[in-house]
């Protein structure tokens, strides 16, 4: 379990307008999460599935004595579960006072990117993805989708409430 130090905001400002992103991969796609929103990155050991829960919720985790809701980014993006049963990584997020763990295939390095260079979503991008993406960064060898953390965590739960 490695912890990523959040940069004091003062430093970032001083350097430039650059923003830092924690990169993750899901089904081969590179995605970036604003580092300010990421609390930590951890390996998922034991997960309790929640019967009757919305599909996006993979289960509940015990993260250092705290119960964390695990959200599958794959399912959130409308992708099927990966068949691999290897070690699962999660990105710890916080939204409205609640702790979430975003399950991803892998966590990569932290990238510094200039927000001005971000391009809008391609018009023909999948509807489901457009809602979760703030834009696209062109990296040298691949594209990075900047995830909107709030949108990722704002999925329907009321469906079954009625």
């Amino acid at each position: 379990m490695k912890l990523i130090e959040t940069n004091p905001s003062g430093n970032v400002k001083a350097a430039s307008k650059q923003m830092e992103f924690v990169t993750v991969t899901v089904a081969g796609q590179l995605l970036g999460l604003p580092i300010s929103r990421v609390h930590d990155v951890f390996v998922v050991s034991e997960m309790t599935t929640v019967p009757l829960a919305p599909g996006e919720i993979a289960g509940l985790l015990n993260l250092r004595g705290r119960v964390v809701t695990a959200v599958s980014l794959r399912r959130r993006l409308g992708l099927g579960d990966s068949g691999e049963a290897g070690r699962r990584m999660a990105v710890g997020l916080e939204n409205q006072g609640e702790a979430y763990g975003l399950l991803v295939d892998d966590v990569g390095e932290v990238l510094k990117l200039d927000p001005d260079e971000m391009q809008p979503n391609p018009v023909h991008m999948d509807r489901g993805w457009v809602g979760l993406s703030q834009g696209v960064h062109q990296l040298r060898d691949q594209l990075l989708i900047v995830l909107d953390v709030d949108a990722v965590l704002a999925f329907e739960t009321e469906r079954e409430a009625a």
């Binding site: 034991e46 997960m47 309790t48 599935t49 929640v50 019967p51 009757l52 829960a53 919305p54 919720i57 289960g59 509940l60 985790l61 015990n62 004595g65 119960v67 809701t69 959200v71 409205q96 609640e98 979430y100 999925f155 739960t157 009321e158 079954e160 409430a161």
Partner: protein, 933 residues
């Protein structure tokens, strides 16, 4: 906002609340000086502090109120308008305080209106000179010694007031000195072990011989934390003043409000979280210790740690506990205002105000309680004229009662008003389309009463200023259920309504049973679990199925079984027969949760569900177990609701307790409910059914167009239960098998729904011969099938047999139950009797005295109104009928009945539901009759 102001706000708000309550008390008991002094002191304090902090508006208001109260003390009569005025002044003060809290400064504005009124009131009547025998106690409010120890008393300790009283009453040193030394003492922190309270110190000093006044001076200097609120006047006349009266009601009165050391709630919450974590860690350690067999010498310290943790947990929990009286504090004022507003006379009685419960729980129920009391006052209690007309005392009573019961706390809100208007509720429910007319008509009042918990349900003819404010009853119910509580309502027309709220003591830590289902563990709160039953197909307890619905026979009662794996959607295999049944009781519903395994009971720290999962009503929260696994906590209420809504809620046993079942046994009939071709439910008394079978449709043979099936080595004819239903040609066909001797018949039904025990009232007598009539079974209209109709249809043998045994005799059947008469008549007729019926003993006697000749009398021995024995006795007394054979029917024969029957020469006593027994008894009689002939 500076700390001083903040402190002032908290303190003043607290004082104001007390004053509110005390004011109402004072109005009722204007001669109680203790109350007045207390109010006076509090208002004076407020005034003083306001002046000190430079809050002119507040100060002026408090001053004016104080002046008026001073008049009261001087003997001015206490009137309702005066009290109302003071109360509205208090409200204004609260308003200003609210503004002050928000903006940090006193809002602009003038209170000239109120002050003028107060002044007018104060000058209105000249103070009656010496109106009361009590001389003015002067400004020596120092004499109202209200001493509070800032923590709970430990066993063996005596409250300060009692001490003081004992001291006062004890013969002691010169009285003058005593009066002078009465100071209000508060130590601003809890006592440390070994420390002595100031009062005790003081007492020791006083009792010690010495130059008393001087010593006290010194003591005060020595104790820097000692605060003297009231100035002691050395000139105070040593007389029987406030203390004595206070001593009288000190138990329930002013001293009932225990002040506490002020700790920030956040600090407590944090402490609680830390303890929760500690409990978890301890559980983890215990788990490790349990797994390793070796003792590395840490087991003893671990045990100790465990114990200390438990104690710490208890202690911290206690800090969260608050007397329910805190939630009731506003109620006297509410009731007072309401009774004035509605011109009703209402008395509020509060019992068990010191019952403690968790702060969090208290917060949640505060508003619902207020609302319910408001409701009782507004809708429940009638106005004095109506009450008088109804023969009730003019003054209505609202009674609040709280007490501990097991792991939960019960709060009752009862009024002696007019009760719920069931007719109006029915009408409203129909209007709002919550239930159909027919359905409503058949519902019991208790069921109808539950409608008031429906959202937006109000039967108030007009919306008064009282009703329609704040929350509705549905919110009340939701709030209470949110914390795992239940609300029940009991109402009697003209006698009043009682709401019973049951809530858990605490929400944070609960004992839970850890169970497993399909490799996943769940926690079930222990409070809801009443027992555990191991089930397997071979053991004494095995799960049976009615049309696939699992049922467990438990001590002769049918318990609906909910397989946990099924509701969780975990399993594909629904025919689980092994495992444990967790018998769960939720309010009046009892059901069994079928799980695969049961582990142990553990104290779990309830953590709230994530907002994304909160809509799943099956879970009330989650927790981390000793081994670090996250486990979901099952909400039995949610489970009951969920399963209940899937089918009909009524299918759950309405568990009114076994004793009631016994009492009502003679009224209850076990019915097998099934469905035919149509939509409607049909039922047949279970006692008539021999077996239930599911057969392969392919085994049905059709001989000359009639369906038959080989059954137990014989051919059994089948008949469809109604025209709409065709007997299946493939798949499984459900049958009800009726047998008589060695002939059987199979009644094909679409689906077997349930077995219910219910009172049978045949309400509509059908024109059709295949039905006895319709009845309401578990709140639903059900057709009661006439089995006798089918028998001749399929069984020539049957009819032949009947003819053979047909003795052509007349029979009088006396039974008060229409249902039994209707059931038995065809059977008896089929056996060749000419049947006459009577529903009462009187009717039977009338028939017989009119010259009806009968060969046999069959009578229920438990006739309503008139005992069957009395009927037989009168028969015996009549020479015409002194030898007429009589067969008695009873629900359960007891020795007393048998003895009495013998005396009255009753030939036989047969169980009421034993149709075959009756027929064989009759056959036997025939034999003897023929012999006699």
């Amino acid at each position: 906002m500076d700390d001083l102001l903040l402190e002032f706000l908290t303190e003043t708000n607290e004082h104001l609340e007390t004053v509110d309550v005390e004011m109402v008390r004072f109005e009722q008991d204007p001669n109680n000086e203790a109350i007045l002094s207390n109010i006076f002191r509090l208002v004076h304090t407020i005034k003083g502090t306001c002046g000190f902090l430079g809050l002119p508006r507040l100060e002026a208001l408090a001053h004016a109120a104080e002046t008026l109260m001073g008049k009261f003390r001087d003997g001015m009569p206490v009137t309702t308008p005066a009290v109302s005025l003071i109360l509205s002044t208090l409200d204004r003060i609260k308003e200003i305080l609210g503004e002050l809290e928000r903006q940090g400064a006193e809002p602009a504005g003038s209170d000239g209106d109120l002050i003028a009124l107060l002044d007018k009131m104060a000058t209105q009547e000249p103070p009656a000179p010496e109106a009361t025998p009590t001389p003015k106690p002067v400004q020596s409010s120092g004499s109202t010694v209200f001493q509070v120890l800032e923590r709970e008393l430990k066993p063996g300790e005596v409250s300060l007031d009692e001490l003081e009283r004992a001291f006062q009453e004890a013969p002691g040193p010169e009285k003058a000195v005593t009066a002078g030394t009465l100071t209000y003492q508060i130590l601003e922190r809890p006592l440390k072990p070994g420390e002595v309270s100031l009062d005790e110190l003081e007492r020791a000093f006083r009792e010690a011989p010495g130059p008393v006044p001087l010593v006290i001076e010194k003591l005060e200097e020595q104790a820097p934390s000692q605060k003297s609120v009231a100035t002691a006047s050395p000139a105070a006349p040593p007389k029987k003043n406030a203390e004595t009266s206070e001593g009288g009601d000190g138990g329930e009165g002013i001293s009932g409000k225990v002040q506490t050391i002020r700790v920030n709630v956040d600090t407590l919450e944090h402490l609680m979280t830390m303890v929760s974590e500690l409990v978890l860690t301890r559980n983890q350690l215990l788990e490790i210790a349990r797994r390793s067999s070796e003792d590395h010498g840490y087991k003893v310290p671990l045990q100790r740690l465990s114990q200390v943790t438990a104690e710490l947990q208890d202690g911290v929990m206690k800090t969260r506990m608050q007397p329910i009286g805190n939630a009731w504090q506003k109620l006297p004022r509410v009731v007072r205002d309401l009774s004035n507003e509605l011109s009703k006379k209402i008395e509020l009685v509060m019992q068990g105000a010191d019952t403690e419960l968790d702060r969090q729980v208290l917060e949640v129920i505060k508003d619902p309680l207020t609302h319910m009391v408001r409701n009782s006052a507004d809708h429940g209690i009638e106005n004095p004229a109506d009450r008088k007309a109804a023969g009730k005392p003019e003054k209505g009573t609202i009674r609040l009662n709280a007490y501990h019961e097991g792991g939960s706390i019960t709060i009752e809100i009862a009024d002696d008003g007019k009760g719920l208007n069931f007719a109006a509720i029915r009408k409203k429910a129909a209007e709002r389309g919550i239930a159909g007319d027919a359905e409503l008509e058949r519902m019991s009042d208790a069921q109808v009463a539950k409608f008031i918990f429906h959202p937006g349900f109000s039967t108030a003819a007009k919306v008064t200023s009282v009703s329609g404010r704040g929350v509705g009853m549905d919110v009340v119910k939701t709030n209470i259920e949110l914390i795992g509580g239940t609300v029940d309502i009991r109402s009697e027309q003209g006698r009043g309504t009682t709401f019973t709220i049951k809530i858990p003591l605490t929400l944070a830590i609960v004992a839970a049973l850890i169970v497993s289902s399909k490799d996943q563990r769940f926690a079930i709160p222990q409070v809801a679990v009443s027992e555990l039953v191991r089930v397997s197909p071979t053991s004494e307890h095995s799960i049976e199925r009615i049309n696939g619905t699992p049922i467990l026979r438990l001590r002769d009662r049918l318990l609906p079984i909910v397989p946990l794996s099924k509701v969780m959607g975990l399993s594909g295999n629904e025919d689980a027969n092994h495992g444990f049944v967790v018998v769960t009781q939720v309010a009046h519903q009892r059901f069994g949760i079928l799980v695969d395994g049961v582990f142990h009971t553990e104290e779990i720290v309830v953590k709230p569900m994530s907002s994304k999962l909160r809509h799943i009503q099956l879970f009330s929260g989650n927790t981390i177990l000793g081994d670090g696994a996250v486990v979901l906590i099952i909400d039995p209420n949610g489970l009951a609701r969920m399963v209940g809504s899937e089918s009909d809620r009524n299918e759950f046993q309405n568990d009114a307790g076994p004793e009631q079942t016994v009492v009502a046994a003679d009224e209850l009939t076990s019915l097998l409910v099934f469905r035919g071709g149509g939509e409607s439910l049909k039922a047949v008394p279970l006692s008539l059914v021999t077996r239930l079978e599911d057969i392969e449709a392919s085994t049905i043979e059709w001989s000359s167009g009639r369906p038959v099936v080989q059954y137990r080595g014989r051919l059994m004819p089948l008949v469809s239960c109604d025209e709409e239903l065709t007997i299946k040609r493939e798949g499984m066909q459900s049958l009800l098998v009726f047998s008589d001797g060695d002939v059987s018949m199979g009644l094909a039904v679409a689906e077997i729904v349930d077995i219910v025990e219910d009172k049978l009232d045949i309400e509509l007598l059908a024109e059709r011969s295949d039905l006895v009539g319709s009845a309401v079974v578990r709140g639903r209209t059900t057709e009661i099938v006439n089995v006798a109709h089918y028998l001749p249809m399929v069984l020539e043998t049957w009819s032949r047999k009947e003819r053979k045994g047909g003795p052509d005799r007349s029979l009088l059947l006396v039974d008060s139950s229409t249902f039994f008469r209707d059931m038995l008549v065809p059977v008896l007729k089929a056996s060749g009797y000419r049947v006459q019926t009577a529903s009462t003993a009187q009717e039977a006697v009338r028939l017989l005295s009119n010259g009806l000749h009968v060969d046999v009398v069959v009578t229920d021995l438990e006739l309503s109104g008139h005992s069957g024995f009395a009927l037989v006795a009168s028969l015996r007394a009549d020479p015409h009928h002194s030898t007429t054979p009589v067969i008695g029917l009873t629900v359960k024969p007891d020795p007393q009945q048998i003895a009495l029957a013998r005396k009255l020469r009753i030939s036989e006593i047969v169980s009421k539901i034993d149709r075959r027994g009756l027929l064989s008894a009759l056959a036997e009689l025939n034999g003897t009759l023929e012999e006699a002939a």
